[in-house]
Amino acid sequence: MNNIEITIPKTLQEALELISGGNEGIGIIAGGTDVVAGMRQGSNRFGGINQLVDVNHIKEMKGITGAGGIVTIGAAETFSGIISNKIIRKELPLLAKACGTIGSVQIRNRATIAGNFVNNAPCADTVPVLLAYDSTIEIKSLAGKRELPLAEFLKAPYRTQLNSDEIVTSIKVPLPKGDFKGDFYKLGRRRAVAISRITLALLIEIKESRINRLRIASGAVTPIGTRFNGIEKEFEGKTADEKTLKAIASRLGERVIEVTGLRWSSEYKLPVVQQICYQMLYSAVYGGGK
């Protein structure tokens, strides 16, 4: 592992100044659960780094607030912090559930939400949920700030739109308006400290036996967390019966093949993701789901 200098700024301004110089050797560290592990493994992403700016002590990047139907989560908020928040547990149960499946208690006490989607691993567990909730993120640099949907921010596995002089400061999650039901699902090789093999986030609103609104997002079966807008459009307005639910699940299978192609793992993952999608829809529509 490299010799690294760690700076701990107390304010966002200080942090932004530190990274403003266009120095390739400077990186951001939050919980460090991806950065430190990645450096130790010799990942190229962190290879050139010799200075880290620790954002854990920046007040502006912590805390969870709700106003105007939007929950704003500080970028450096830990998963443990998020899970223990009452508003999130009540209003954004899928997010609470996803955060609760991450790693172990020790990891959740350190790891942050921004770290999860900035790292943008295919198996980043909060990504499908944040996509299903139509989240947007706020990014700041000395030059100013920008806000964009998370879906736009994520480019490719381990790649985002973040520029080297920018810090993600918060994530804004609009509370779903309407009577949504749904769930987050994670499948790993064990029940804790598990790398996801399949994740799905699903929200569905039924009105008069029809699908009024539908939101589906996946992780681990697609190269990055992916929202399936096409499927959502196609099935909104359809009768919410078992046949439709099965058709949605099959369509998801088709889309996953299109997006991901056939891989070594597809023989297992493809049938399972369709079954899981069907079961989540079924539970949401006929009870059992949250």
């Binding site: 499948l187 029940r191 493809l270 049938p271 079954q275």
Partner: protein, 793 residues
């Protein structure tokens, strides 16, 4: 031999518990010595290659480098091994598996040493690679060890009766193939050892996470060309071993010692998890073909077994591991006609050796799956088939040994487990449960209407069991004896030590209980000394679940020697007649119920009278006999019996198996240390579930994929439900009050019980471990097409 015990069998707090729980226990890597050097290993990312030249010129003279160690620095033997000296300390002209080390750098900064490693130029030519053990014995197969002239490590035949006749007499004959995977011990503490040069006349001292100090001493002495007495090994607190800190620690100790002598400074080798998984040996993958002939009434008449074990690149413990397999391959059943061949072969794969279970978990998975399959063909229950065939007292095992001189409790543990788990009712209910199955078909990857399964139909319950007999201690492997040192102090406290090692199994506590019981004192009065080969008598390796049996026997013997010296003193001091019964209990000494003095009082008295209060106890096993030609003989001097029942839920949509409950019934003989025994069951069952469901080291052309615990998935506490230990304490004339073996039996049974439970749940039989997601859904394993990980891009 029944006795009222005052300490034995009661829960006693672990001798080293406080230190370990509070973090003050010193493990090998905690040792820091002024002037100590660290090391880095030079390897190449090849499975099999010829080394043409090594160019160190780019690092020579570096301020960070104290020494380069290669095979030229070795004064004694250049290849080592626990059975055969075939593993180079530093490779010369070839590497035969990716863990091989070509050279080692020593210097003050580990970090800088790793940078230097990258600058060494190794010119090598990759060679063809042999990874399929089934091709190892082909006529034109490449040879891993050319000197040996063959890839056959060992062949153990066993012939009893006439199998062809047995098959001819049978109503049915079936053949099944089973495979088991390569797995890692996954001790939580990676390897660490420090070698300290003591000067020309004093030799070398080695302190480390060493499972078998006496084996390590023998090997280090041979590598250094020193007498045994000049190599002193001291064991640190050990963070897990499970059979894994034997060969590897001998190897690392030898390397550290070579570097220490070369530099004249203490040298520490400590491994990262990746180093550890890459270089250390693993459990043998087995390919097992079983053919069984049986009658309509369920009686097994003949069994023919052919097993290939992948030994990997080095011999290691393969000959002994597979020997236990040949003895136990038919399981605990009375079968007249048996024909077994077990062969271990070389490949370029990671080498395999000792691991808790030691050649038993593999055949148990096969044979116990087979028994259930036979039962279901005959419409018998898993319990009935075992009642029909299970070994009883006086029966002959596959090796022709008559089971005698101990309670043959196979059927007792079976019936106990069946009753405790309500097996029969659950088994019937699950079986009658309507089955909805989902069988994915990859030629049509998009699911159709009737493929879909509702949430409420996706979980199926199952219950399954497996039974075993296990030979105790080393048996035909070799000399089997152990020593203990006991020394009473004048204040009634006691020093205790034994040549068997505390590897986490809790023997310090168990031995303290035994000594306390004999002398009528309490375990807290006993101060257990560290194992140091310079002081403690050689007691062989701490393996084969032999500590309680052999070491316990030695401790009891030592305590009795001293007691026999004290009794005449008591009799003369208190003028007692010969007929008076002297009792040692509750820290007091009494005669025919009348208290004479306290235990400390007696010690003070004996000390003042010049009586020797120290003794070395010795316990040697009864003789065993083995005929290598036909695999017949008294393989082990005694046996233990176990039955585990697994209750599972199978998710037929994802292939997940949840192990909800394991009822583990073991006859380990007398239970000395209750908490320790329960701990063995919890740990062993969990490891067994890991083996059955979760764990696998896979490799691409010999290069391991799972080098850390992110991808090598040992089960967490969330992955296994309740474990219920039940002990049936059979009588046995051996050991301390008939206390026998428990450590390994607890691990060997779970995988078969789970496989049988899965069958009970979904009606699908699985033949290949581990029963992971893909195995359950597809009946096969899926492997990534290459070893590259996206996160490293």
């Amino acid at each position: 031999m029944k006795k009222n015990f005052s300490v034995v069998g009661r829960p006693v707090i672990r001798e080293d518990g406080f230190e370990k729980v509070t973090g003050s226990a010193k493990f090998a890597d905690d040792l820091k010595i002024e002037g100590m050097l660290y090391t880095a290993m030079l390897r190449i990312p090849e499975t099999h290659a010829k080394i043409n030249s090594i160019d160190f010129s780019a690092i020579e003279g570096s301020q960070y480098l104290t020494a380069i160690c290669t095979r030229n620095d070795i004064a004694g033997i250049k290849k080592i091994g626990v059975i055969k000296n075939d593993q180079p300390v530093f490779c010369g002209d070839k590497v035969v598996t990716p863990g091989d080390v070509i050279a080692m750098l020593a210097g003050e900064s580990e970090e800088e040493l790793h940078k230097l490693i990258g600058k060494i130029k190794v010119d090598y030519t990759p060679l063809p690679v042999l990874t399929d053990p089934l091709k190892a014995l082909d006529e034109n197969a490449l040879l891993i060890n050319e000197e040996a002239g063959t890839n056959l490590i060992v062949h153990h035949p066993l012939r009893k009766g006439d199998v062809e006749k047995g098959f001819a007499q049978s109503d049915f004959v079936i053949e099944r193939k089973y495979t088991t995977q390569l797995i890692e011990h996954a001790y939580i503490e990676p390897e660490s050892v420090t070698a300290i040069p003591m000067g020309v006349s004093r030799g070398i001292k080695i302190i480390g996470s060493i499972q078998n100090p006496f084996t390590t001493r023998r090997i280090v002495a041979a590598v250094l060309n020193m007498p045994l007495s000049k190599v002193r090994i001291e064991q640190s607190h050990l963070g897990g071993s499970f059979g894994g800190k034997d060969d590897t620690m001998c190897m690392l100790s030898a390397r550290a010692a070579v570097a220490a002598l070369k530099t004249g400074r203490p040298v520490k080798i400590r491994y990262t998890r990746e180093d550890s998984i890459l270089e250390s040996y693993k459990r043998h993958p087995y390919i097992m073909n079983y053919k069984a002939g049986f009658s309509k009434n369920g009686k097994i008449n003949a069994m023919k077994i052919d097993i290939i074990a992948d030994g990997g690149a080095y011999v290691s413990m393969s000959p002994f591991v597979t020997w236990r397999t040949v003895v136990q391959a038919t399981g605990p059943y009375l079968i007249e006609n048996v024909h077994t061949d077990v062969r271990a072969v070389h490949t370029n794969n990671p080498y395999t050796g000792a691991m808790r279970g030691f050649g038993s978990p593999q055949p148990i998975f096969a044979q116990e799956s087979l028994m259930d399959e036979i039962a279901s063909m005959l419409n018998l229950s898993p319990v009935e088939i075992r009642r029909i065939n299970g070994l009883k007292a006086g029966d002959k095992t596959a090796t022709g040994q008559t089971l005698q001189n101990h309670d043959v409790n196979l059927l007792t543990v079976l019936e106990t487990a069946v009753e405790k788990s309500d097996f029969t009712n659950k088994w019937k209910d699950n079986r009658e449960n309507k089955k909805i199955l989902f069988e994915p078909d990859f030629s049509n990857p998009v699911l159709k209407d009737n493929d879909f399964i509702r949430p409420e139909d996706s979980i199926k319950r199952g219950i399954g069991l497996s039974v075993s007999l296990r030979g105790c201690s080393l048996g035909g492997e070799g000399i089997d004896a152990a020593a203990a040192y006991l020394s009473l102090q004048s204040d009634g406290t006691i020093y205790l030590n034994c040549g068997l090692a505390e590897n986490g199994q809790g023997l310090k506590t168990t031995f303290s209980i035994i000594a306390a019981e004999v002398l009528g004192t309490t375990a807290e009065n006993i101060y257990y000394l560290e194992l140091n080969t310079g002081i403690t008598p050689d007691s062989g390796p701490t393996v084969a679940s032999r500590s309680t049996l052999m070491g316990g026997g030695a401790v009891k013997n030592a305590a009795e020697i001293i007691k026999q010296r004290l009794i005449p003193l008591i009799k003369s001091e208190w003028k007692l007649g010969d007929e008076e019964e002297i009792e040692f209990a509750g820290n007091k000494v009494s005669a025919s119920g009348k208290e004479l003095t306290t235990f400390p009082g007696l010690c003070r008295l004996a000390y003042s009278r010049g009586i020797c209060l120290a003794a070395i106890g010795w316990y040697k096993s009864p003789d065993v006999h083995w005929n290598e030609e036909n695999g017949q003989g008294d393989a082990y001097f005694t046996y233990v019996y176990g039955c585990q029942v697994a209750e599972v839920r199978v998710n037929i949509v994802t292939g997940e198996i949840y192990v909800d409950r394991v009822t583990a019934v073991h006859d380990a003989g007398k239970i000395i240390n209750k908490l320790g025994a329960e701990g063995q069951v919890y740990g062993g069952v969990t490891q067994g579930v890991g083996y059955g469901v979760f764990e696998e080291v896979t490799h691409e052309n010999g290069l391991i994929r799972e080098l850390n615990f992110d991808t090598y998935t040992i089960p967490t506490s969330k992955d296994i439900g309740e474990i219920i230990p039940v002990f049936v304490e059979g009588d046995d004339a051996n050991g301390a009050w008939g206390a026998k073996s428990l450590g390994e039996p607890t691990l060997e049974l779970a995988s078969a019980a789970i496989a049988n439970a899965v069958y009970n749940a979904v009606g699908t039989r699985l033949y290949n471990l581990p029963l992971n997601l893909e195995e359950v859904m597809l009946g096969k394993k899926l492997r990534p097409v290459n070893n590259k990980r996206g996160s490293l891009a």
